[in-house]
């Protein structure tokens, strides 16, 4: 009897210990984000956590800084183009992927996710030389192509997963009722894969918004994306304006997470 209570007690301590460990690990995961958001509201001139007082002055300061605002606008523009292009190209690739069978299908999937699996540094270095060779170095178009390439796998994976959920019989039914290929796509397939397609666009946009290394090597003359402008700002000025800029970036990712949850559910997305 006493032995039994003993093992129960042991079990309980272990469970409590595990619970504490889990809480600490989640604190570790969330701490940097919480500290940035906190530091952005400080009244003082120093980046510090916990913040001193409460003010929005560093947000005003951010929107008065031409270099940071230009960076933000450039990131938003490149991200939007990246999302639209990757969604279209990935949608087509996912439809082709469905008719590839057997061993080839695995290779196709691997090929489509290649930019995700090869380190960004290698792709960036290769692209730097290549763009120089085709006389597209230091242009916005060159940087844009780099972002499209790096974000494509995210769009592809989301859209391909959504395509796999569409029953083949629906397509056949639509065709046997006389719809042509385009009508079948627009009226049957597109509405069904819409959530996955939108999620692919969100992932591509956010990935593009966050890219650093490839932007550093391919940046156009006189143009900076927000992460590049933020890095320079952190190196030379280190004021809470940086925390305000970073908080805007965190808000964007939280909005992305919330949208993905609404569209397809986080559990299915990851």
């Amino acid at each position: 009897m006493s032995e039994m209570t003993n093992t129960f007690g042991h079990q309980k301590t272990m469970n409590i210990g595990f619970g504490v460990l889990i809480v600490l690990l989640y604190v570790f995961l969330m701490a940097p984000l919480v500290m940035i958001v906190g530091a952005s509201f400080t009244e003082s001139l120093m980046i510090e956590f916990p913040p001193q007082g409460l003010s929005f002055r560093w947000y005003f300061e951010f929107f008065n800084r031409q270099d940071l605002v230009d960076g933000l606008l450039m990131s938003l523009r490149i991200g939007a183009v990246t999302a639209i292009v990757t969604m279209s190209v990935a949608m087509m690739a996912a439809m082709a992927g469905q008719v590839i069978a057997g061993r080839l299908s695995g290779w196709f999937q691997l090929g489509m996710t290649l930019p995700l699996l090869v380190p960004e540094l290698l792709t960036a270095v290769g692209l730097l030389f290549f763009l120089y060779k085709i006389e597209m170095a230091k242009t916005v178009l060159g940087l844009q192509m780099g972002h499209i390439l790096m974000s494509f796998p995210y769009a592809y994976v989301s859209i391909a997963a959504a395509m796999r959920q569409v029953p083949h019989s629906l397509e056949e039914a639509s065709q046997s009722l006389g719809a042509n290929g385009w009508q079948t796509f627009r009226l049957v397939i597109l509405p069904l894969v819409m959530p996955g397609l939108a999620m692919g666009g969100i992932f591509a946009f956010i990935n593009s918004f966050d890219l650093y290394t490839i932007s550093l090597l391919l940046k156009p003359l006189g143009g900076n994306t927000l992460p590049l402008a933020l890095f320079d700002f952190l190196t030379y000025e280190f004021k809470p304006t940086a925390a305000a800029a970073a908080t805007l970036s965190i808000l964007l990712s939280i909005a992305g997470v919330a949208l993905v949850q609404r569209l397809v559910g986080l559990q299915r997305a990851f």
Binding site: A31, L33, I47, A96, L117, T123, L128, F152
Partner: protein, 284 residues
Amino acid sequence: MSLKNPKLLLAIPAIALIFVFMILPITNMVEMSFRTPGTSAPFGDDYTAQHYDRILSDGHYWSVLIRSLLTAGLVTVLCLIVSYPIAWHMSKARGMKAVFLYACIASPLMTGVLVRNFGWMIAAALNGPLNQTLLGLGIIEMPLRLLFTQGLVILALVHVFVPFMVLPINNALRNISPTLIEASSSMGATRREVFRDIILPLSFPGIYPGMILVYVLAVAAYVTPALLGGAMVSYMPTLIIGELTGTFQWPFGSALAIVLSVSTILVVALFTALTSRLMERSKA
């Protein structure tokens, strides 16, 4: 060649994108690494193997390479230690709790590396939260200089890559049938035995890709050492970018990148060979 299905043509833009803007450029980089150094341009017209000679005969480059490979290894192991309990806890959750936990993993994942590294700069300040915690716990008596140290680079890298490890392990754990665990405990296996003989081998299909992905990405990580490492300690990626943007030595920078890639592939191959038995056990 006749096409069985015209739908296959839809793959052309995607294949062209990846071929033209990735495979071709990386092949091009291999060629670049054999070019002679340029005097007025970033590279010369002739071919040579001198850059590889220079890298492999200079102890400085060896030590930076080994530091990069070892640091990435340490980051990978620490990531596994941090990620496994999280993945385990996540795989048990259902309903709204699961949504909340997924959001806690996805939010850092979808926040840029630079932003997350900046968070650690705030944490590591001289009287910042990290030092305050260590002082409060009585571990140190004086605040430590944490910024621009290798330790902070490792901590920040672990933070960057934990979600990449949690997600595949969580998926592997979710695929383990609960009846298998019930059966073995009812046949008298202790919790430790169940974990060692069933859960750990069956989660290996998640651990393996997670570790490979984290290692490959960690070896080539540039932002974190550039922002948090300071000028004292160099890693291969900071060295490579320095050669390309600072001194414009494109052939030499390419050779460095290729040495780093080949070493990474060798490490991954070695790891795969060493763990092939575990992988087979997980399939049995």
